[in-house]
Symmetry: C2
Subunit: 312 residues, 2 copies
């Protein structure tokens, strides 16, 4: 397999990326990594960190899309940027997955317009790991790609998240919950009220009902479904709790798992090929984890399972 990595994206590019590639390749030989970036910058670093030449292939890029550039304009105007090249290689099948911690908007736009949604998917989505108090891990989606949703969207997120939890986390028959502000059916806002019956009828998931804010971290469900506004607020709130704890020098095994930077990126689910968007502040460990996630998405044929689930 061949995984493309945007070496120019993220706050600590390219050095932390090179270190992440070294750490990944020192333990894994399954994938050839296509490193997209400025050769002049990368070659000395690859040598310095002793990344084995057989483990990667350099793909030169001459442009970079900045973190604050307008995503659509940048993608169109910079065809030689690392992100544009990555999507091109993925779309023509030269690579099997694409990872970037660069401009999030450009990554979403590229996923939607170059890789395109799986047939039947209304809205591709992004999710995040949720560290549970009991040590297990859940998956929450959407976390920001879809700020406004309809019930049909959430119901599709439920199926996508369930397949992700099953194949990536190895959870048999994952419990899927709807994030809501009440326990019983009929509670919540109009979106939650109309989503509940759809999820209840969804034969592709094991629906366990509503999950309130107080139960998000209590392992009431393996997959937590919500629109991207609520999901993004929850994710960033959890990140900030971790930040406050860092500043107060509180470390516990559980709350250290709130360091979302380490998990690597969030997969874009519902598009035809594996795309992973990294956190801007990713460091070596996160890049290594993103490479591992891409490998797992390819090995488990996750996207084929998703395509099958949405076949009419």
């Amino acid at each position: 397999m061949n995984i493309a990595l945007d070496m120019m994206g993220g706050d600590f590019a390219p050095e932390e990326l090179v270190k992440g590639v070294r750490d990944y390749t020192s333990e894994n030989t399954a994938a050839l990594i296509s490193l997209i970036g400025d050769e002049q910058l990368l070659l000395p670093l690859l040598e310095q960190y002793k990344v084995p030449p057989a483990s990667f292939k350099l793909i030169p890029s001459t442009e970079v899309i900045g973190m604050n550039e307008h995503p659509l304009k940048a993608l169109k105007g910079k065809p030689n940027s690392s992100i544009a090249i990555g999507f091109h290689l993925l779309s023509i099948g030269k690579v099997d997955a694409f990872i970037s911690a660069g401009n999030t908007g450009a990554m979403l736009i590229g996923s939607l317009y170059t890789i395109k949604p799986i047939e039947g998917i209304l809205r591709p989505t992004i999710g995040t790991i949720v560290p549970m108090e009991n040590g297990s891990q859940g998956f929450m989606l959407d976390v920001g790609a879809n700020a406004d949703c309809k019930a049909e969207h959430l119901n599709q997120f439920a199926t996508l998240g369930s397949l992700y939890a099953q194949y990536i986390y190895g959870i048999e028959n994952p419990r899927v919950g709807l994030i809501n502000i009440g326990e019983e059916e009929g509670k919540g806002n109009v979106l939650a009220q109309t989503t509940y019956p759809l999820m209840k009828e969804n034969k592709d998931i094991n629906f366990v009902g509503n999950v309130e804010g107080r139960d998000v971290f209590l392992d009431k469900a393996d997959v937590l479904v919500c629109e991207g506004f609520t999901g993004n607020v929850i994710l960033k709130l959890a990140e900030s709790i971790h930040g406050i704890m860092e500043r107060q020098n509180i470390h516990t095994e559980y709350f250290d798992r709130f360091n979302f930077e380490e998990y690597g990126g969030t997969p874009v689910l519902g598009v035809n090929k594996p795309v992973i968007i990294g956190h801007g502040i990713s460091r070596a460990k996160a890049y290594k984890n993103m490479l591992l996630l891409a490998q797992k998405m390819i090995e488990t044929k996750l996207l084929e399972k998703m395509a099958t689930a949405f076949k009419a």
Copy 2:
């Protein structure tokens, strides 16, 4: 002043209420407390805890609205319940404020239909204190009374929250922020996008822009405005973080302030008289704090300020 307290509501009624009244009256003489409840139950407890007879007046009630009863049906069907009596006394001016930790739905319904919204208010709202990392305190609203909102509602919450922060927390010219999933104007879901310009134009508030999930606890604003779905999820998530910390035996000055039970209740803002809804699991300290809050709402003439703000 005369503050009515529902002695039959809450998980630890009536004993913890009697203790709360004792603690309040031992330090404060400004208010006479009207204790609404079952005399047979209350008299021995009031004696046991030595509540000074001059500080309270017993108002007998013969019915109780259960925590899971249908709010509207219960209020209509149980006119001799402690909640129905409390709202009646408040509506005819026999008391100046009403506090209950009983059925939340009945408390909201009673506020809306017996006490009624301030003229010009589209939707009364409930809020919560937000403990800030730097030691200060903010106020977030709505936290669950209004799961679906329009921009006009949020803009009114902003004004109500600003007055509350000013008069109850003593914050001069409170900074008011809109909870959102991006920093700049134009970001977020449709509701946030349409609310932003209204809040920017609102001359009764000091609008400071969007506040992301990661900044909720970082004192970027004194008043945090959102619809009740997001607000409820945030509040319950924060409560659960405190619960996890308790179980992990982590105590710090900051995170101990996540013990929302101690704050007492949430005021119903936007109705004509002071109403405070207590947390079901309130104990003596919370009841004392609710009595103090009611006293402050009366002393500062908060509701008159609100009525003035919404006068055309």
